[in-house]
């Protein structure tokens, strides 16, 4: 065969181009994790050039870091800590007002099963610290004095505390709000496919390439097993379980989800998974349902048409809301 210079050069250049094209990630996907808000936050994003994804994810993490500085109960200079220290309340940022408004609404609708004023009770138990203890009943009663849905009043951005010693704790909702904000930042950067997961509180934006996101739900009593897998897009998935944070004393296990009525860990459920429009709402509802137990919990869920739940009761039985099945992955 005669030497055909232009043809050979074109063929070789084509080979080089194809080889280097194959070396590039198929769809420009990135996956980053950081320790933030006392948990692991992971963000997966795709569908855009890698540089754009990197910028978007950096901005999303920065937003969550900013919110942590507002909401943290552990930072004495946070807005929430300043509110707890104040005797009457005060003006709050737009972000804190948004979290308080949603939290107070769920607190009211749940009859106080979800509560933003459990700060003193949680400190008493030391559940987030290194040496948790079961407090005596007198101390628990004192820590519950004055709490409840009416303990805080929000008028625009003005928060009023009904009693000075109330300690505000946004732990049941702030992480979810931060995930929602991170998702909003990703959207502002033009990202249409992403997952933001903060220790199990997650939002699934758009779809993975060619299919919805699949989320495994941890089995509450078998850490090696998945209870169910659900398929979602543009939805939040939040799980609260008694296995997440707990300690044992005198052979009894005490976990971190408290019943505001008794001041002790709620005993009606092993875990609750909520699928909702936003992670903040899912976060608050998962806690409220856990405290209320399966029957009362599902009745509360009727007030939130966009939300579905799967509850594992204390005896291990499963209780799902009517629309849950539409998310289940059929084997």
């Amino acid at each position: 065969m005669p030497w055909n210079r232009p043809l050979m050069i074109v063929l070789l250049a084509g080979l080089v181009a194809v080889t280097w094209w194959r070396l590039q990630p198929a769809d420009g996907q990135i996956h980053r994790s950081q320790l933030l808000m006392g948990t692991v936050v992971e963000i997966m994003a795709g569908g855009r050039p890698t540089g754009q994804l990197e910028d978007a994810v950096d901005a999303a993490f920065a937003e969550m870091t900013r919110l942590d500085l507002l909401f943290s109960s552990y930072r004495p200079d946070s807005e929430v800590s300043r509110l707890s220290q104040s005797t009457r309340g005060g003006e709050v940022s737009a972000e804190t007002a948004a979290v308080l408004a949603l939290g107070l609404e769920v607190a009211q609708r749940s009859g106080g099963a979800f509560d933003l004023t459990l700060g003193r009770l949680k400190s008493l138990w030391g559940i987030d610290g290194d040496n948790p203890v079961v407090p005596d009943r007198q101390a628990i009663a004192a820590a519950l004095a004055g709490i409840g849905p009416k303990a805080l009043t929000l008028d625009g951005r003005q928060l009023s505390k009904q009693s000075g010693p109330l300690q505000i704790d946004l732990g049941g909702i702030a992480k979810g709000y931060a995930v929602d904000r991170a998702v909003a930042v990703l959207k502002e950067h033009g990202i249409a496919s992403a997952a933001v997961n903060a220790g199990g509180d997650m939002y699934l934006l758009g779809q993975r390439p060619e299919r919805p996101w699949r989320v495994g739900i941890q089995h509450p009593r078998n850490k090696d097993a998945v209870l169910e897998t659900v398929q979602v897009d543009d939805r939040a998935v939040v799980t609260s379980g008694d296995y997440e944070r707990f300690f044992e004393q005198d052979g009894q296990r005490y976990h971190h989800i408290f019943d505001p009525q008794s001041g002790f860990p709620a005993r009606g459920c092993q875990s609750v998974t909520v699928i909702a429009d936003s992670v903040a709402l899912g976060d608050a509802l998962a806690t409220a349902l856990f405290v209320l137990g399966p029957q009362a919990g599902l009745r509360l869920l009727d007030q939130y048409p966009g939300a579905e739940a799967l509850i594992v009761a204390a005896d291990g039985s499963l209780h799902a809301s009517e629309g849950w099945t539409k998310y289940q992955v059929t084997p």
Partner: protein, 121 residues
């Protein structure tokens, strides 16, 4: 062929061969990836049993890779919550010791299809 032909063809050929070699050498299979403060500090294949230590600000965290996956078996952190997380074995699974700033992720550069993308717990 002239010298000029070779000057064009050889770089193109070398570039194509380098690309093929890079693809062939790329790590395949499922891996355990350990990061600290965003930096990867350890990787190992998930199908090769072994134990290893990662040093964090509190001291050494010991991890084991076995037939169940990878798990944290000892940690200097006060509450030992990371020990109760059980094994990670599917692509995307995460383990973490927040006090000792250690993150463990299962990664699959080969694109293994996991039964789920994320785990809600």
């Amino acid at each position: 062929m002239t010298v000029g032909d070779w000057l064009v063809i050889l770089p193109l050929l070398c570039s194509a061969l380098a690309g093929v070699a890079w693809v062939a050498a790329a790590p395949g299979g499922t891996r355990v990836v350990v990061t600290q403060d965003g930096q990867t500090c350890f990787t190992a294949p998930l199908d090769q049993p072994r134990g290893f230590d990662i040093e964090g600000p509190l001291g050494l965290t010991h991890l084991v890779i076995d037939e169940q996956g990878v798990r944290i078996t000892s940690s200097p952190c006060p509450r030992k919550l990371c020990l109760s997380m059980g094994p990670a074995r599917h692509t995307g699974d995460l383990l973490a010791c927040v006090p000792n700033r250690i993150l463990v992720r299962i990664d699959s550069p080969g694109g293994e299809e996991a039964p789920y993308d994320l785990l809600s717990r």
